[in-house]
Symmetry: C2
Subunit: 464 residues, 2 copies
């Protein structure tokens, strides 16, 4: 690979790309040896989120950022500076419009791409990447349409190129401690889980075109960064638009697609008020600002009930247009205990209760449990994760998993079926809301393989 | 009334019973004068809950407990002792089986009845009471079948006898402070609300036939108190079996049946594990205990999504079979703020946030808000409520409203339409779960009157 073996030959020779399809966890050795020492990476999308990934990946000795694509010159310039600052070789740039990433994909010196582009490009670019033998790591969002989810699965199965969904909250320290407690059986049999994206994004969805956050009421072409593209989704769509941060960790805990399956959902939405209100109350907005006339379709709070084949239920909340403290609202409840998260992942900010440990009917603070059951992977990589920064160290883990699995030719812990399943929540929730909350079937993207696939996310076999 | 005017003449002469049908809030004078100085009461059901009401009502000078009905001699005996202890005249007893309450209802010296019987009797007895001109105050639960809800409404409209649902949590001190804040506009326009009955009732659903709580694994005929009848509902039914404590306060805040209406619901249920597990793990149970063979239909956690005509959404949780601290799980969220309740109503145990008051993106403790916005009715009756005891003073308020509204011939703050609406959640949720979570329409029990009815619950006009 890093010795310039053409990519397609690599795929053929090593069979790496087939891992996510055919390999069972039993055949994976713990800490499988490296098959390649360096991953040659292309970045697709180097906006603020892509730059955050880029900065961390530049710090890795086992990553070479060969090229990067972004139609926005300001983003490319910032990314270029990050590469220069790192002392590494300049990355080849592809900045000629939205489709120049296709030229990046034509390179023969790239093994994988990290996709951190606007939502509507994720699946298109992931599919394009797999079709030319590049392994995509795909940032999170929801699918634009349900067929996208099938297309990404079908392409991966056809090309035998794996894909990973870069869901970092699965690696949040308190979430992983709770996962550890779940697997130790401390909660008993799981019954009910909750999660969400409850994050006041109004200052992200609008800006002044220069400063990305809290600077104005523009969106679309007059805005910068996420407000340029993300906000239009709130104009055009009403649904669970950002399901993965809340649902990804829960999906891991219930062994989604690995012995269990999320099978049905039903979504409801409140009226839409927050974004309009933000515009008319903002010092740079007001009732006469042109954007005060925009009708936002996205309800302020969207709630989704999910049923699983194993009999758990999940409540997922999307809440990004209202004033509120950040809280992903996790709840994990089983026959022996319950965890309730009300803050932003601080170890001492949750409530927990175990029948065989706690004073009857009385919440305990989470701190001592978070310390005692800190997941082994966090103990192992504490220094690297903390040193690397990036959303409380979570980004270190999700990038590390992506890179190490490629190097070691082992299965991704969050694979193309997880990608399709988590992404599918969005179009299914939109359809449910249009139908007044009617239940939608969640497709089985594994086509039955969920019944025999074994849990793999940080199970001790392949802990990246 | 207390001068032995026959009940039916009273109804005819005063028109009291028509209040809930025809009277608008505008015609009610603040602190309407008493039309009668004493309410002559019959108790139907004097188990532990009925005795709690009885004890408080015996402390009131404006209540005369004339009679009481209960088929259980042990309950009657305890109630008899409470009356004796109060120094008041002994109540006439009706203890000959389940239908002896009908003889109590034949008395001409009773104005009203308080119904605290097993769930399956509430609507039957309320209808029987109205049909003989007695005003029922009905303890909370959910309906056995949807038609019950129509029957109670139709009977009240036909007889012109009002009915009150005795939902005490509407009067919880923190809940009323939040209601106060809602009405002061502090939350902005309401968007999303949550509530539930999240209460580990395993030690209530089973006992040893002698001691009511935490004493064994019997239910049905071999058990005492609630375990004798309540647990069978967990065998026979899967749904939101106890909706009113979580939903009542929320319904008041959104002006349910008074300018707004809960219009649709969808329910999902987890598997059923907790009650079986309790039996097999209990020292008096075990895997060979006969009750270990019982199949419980009730899922451990039932979640219900509710939509309203005004565009709010509500999530309601029923969670009574798992180890967990008590928490009704209230959340009130509007365009300007959010309240999250995680404990049992302690003023300093919640989280709150207002855009125009709080440090950005940061929860505040609720204490200072609960103190500052303590509802005027709690300030007014603080001494009586605290002195009376009874579930944190809530019972004082719900009883006081029942008695004072009868004395003053004013509308009940929680009327027959609220009773029908809140009770209807149960059979509708059962149907939804049977249909895999499909949406059910919640009937308009007001037959359109919700569009013009004005809020009345502690609005300052008639604050009981």
């Amino acid at each position: 690979m890093s010795q310039n073996i053409p990519r397609r030959d690599f795929i053929k020779n090593t069979g790496l790309a087939g891992l996510s399809v055919g390999l069972s966890v039993n055949t994976i050795k713990a800490f499988a040896p490296e098959q390649m020492t360096k991953v040659r990476l292309g970045m697709i999308g180097v906006g603020l989120r892509g730059q955050s990934h880029l900065e961390m990946l530049l710090g890795r000795k086992d990553v070479e950022v060969v090229a990067m694509a972004d139609p926005d010159e300001r983003s490319l310039a910032s990314a270029r500076q990050l590469v220069a600052k790192s002392g590494k070789k300049a990355a080849v740039e592809y900045g000629k419009g939205n489709t120049d990433y296709k030229n990046l994909l034509k390179r023969t010196d790239i093994d994988a791409v990290l996709i951190a582009s606007p939502w509507e490009w994720h699946i298109i670019q992931a599919i394009d990447a797999m079709n030319v033998g590049k392994i995509p790591g795909v940032e999170v969002c929801g699918a634009i349409k349900l067929q996208d989810c099938w297309d990404v699965v079908n392409t991966s199965e056809k090309t035998k190129v794996p894909a990973m969904i870069m869901e970092n909250v699965c690696y949040r320290r308190d979430v992983m401690a709770v996962l550890n407690m779940v697997r130790l059986g401390m909660f008993g049999e799981l019954l009910h889980l909750q999660g969400g994206y409850e994050h006041d994004l109004r200052g992200v969805k609008f800006n002044d075109g220069i400063t990305p956050y809290n600077s104005g009421v523009e969106f679309g072409p007059k805005a910068f960064s996420e407000a340029r593209w993300r906000t239009q989704h709130s104009v055009d769509r009403n649904g669970e638009l950002y399901p993965t941060h809340g649902l990804g960790p829960v999906a891991v805990m219930i062994d989604s697609n690995r012995g269990n399956r999320m099978s049905k959902l039903s979504s409801v939405s409140t009226k839409s008020r927050g974004l309009h209100r933000y515009i008319i109350n903002h010092p740079k907005g007001g009732p006469n600002h042109p954007n005060a006339k925009v009708k936002f379709k996205l309800g302020d709070i969207v709630t989704t009930q999910i049923q699983t084949t194993n009999g758990e239920t999940i409540v997922l909340t999307h809440d990004t247009s209202s004033p509120r403290p950040y809280n992903l609202g996790f709840r994990v409840q089983g026959t022996n205990g319950i965890w309730q998260d009300n803050h932003a992942g601080e170890p001492n900010a949750g409530l927990i209760y175990f029948e065989d440990k706690s004073k009857p009917h009385t919440w305990e603070n989470t701190k001592s449990y978070m310390d005692q059951y800190d997941h082994p992977i966090w103990k192992r990589f504490d220094k690297e994760a903390a040193g690397a920064g990036g959303e409380g160290g979570m980004d270190f883990f999700v990038e590390n998993a992506f890179i190490e699995c490629i190097k070691r030719k082992t299965e991704f812990p969050l694979d193309v079926y997880d990608l399709a399943t988590l992404y599918s929540i969005t179009p299914l929730s939109e359809k449910s809301i249009i139908e007044g909350g009617q239940v939608q079937n969640i497709p089985d993207f594994t086509r039955g393989k969920w019944q025999t696939r074994k849990p793999i996310f940080c199970t001790g076999h392949n802990d990246y």
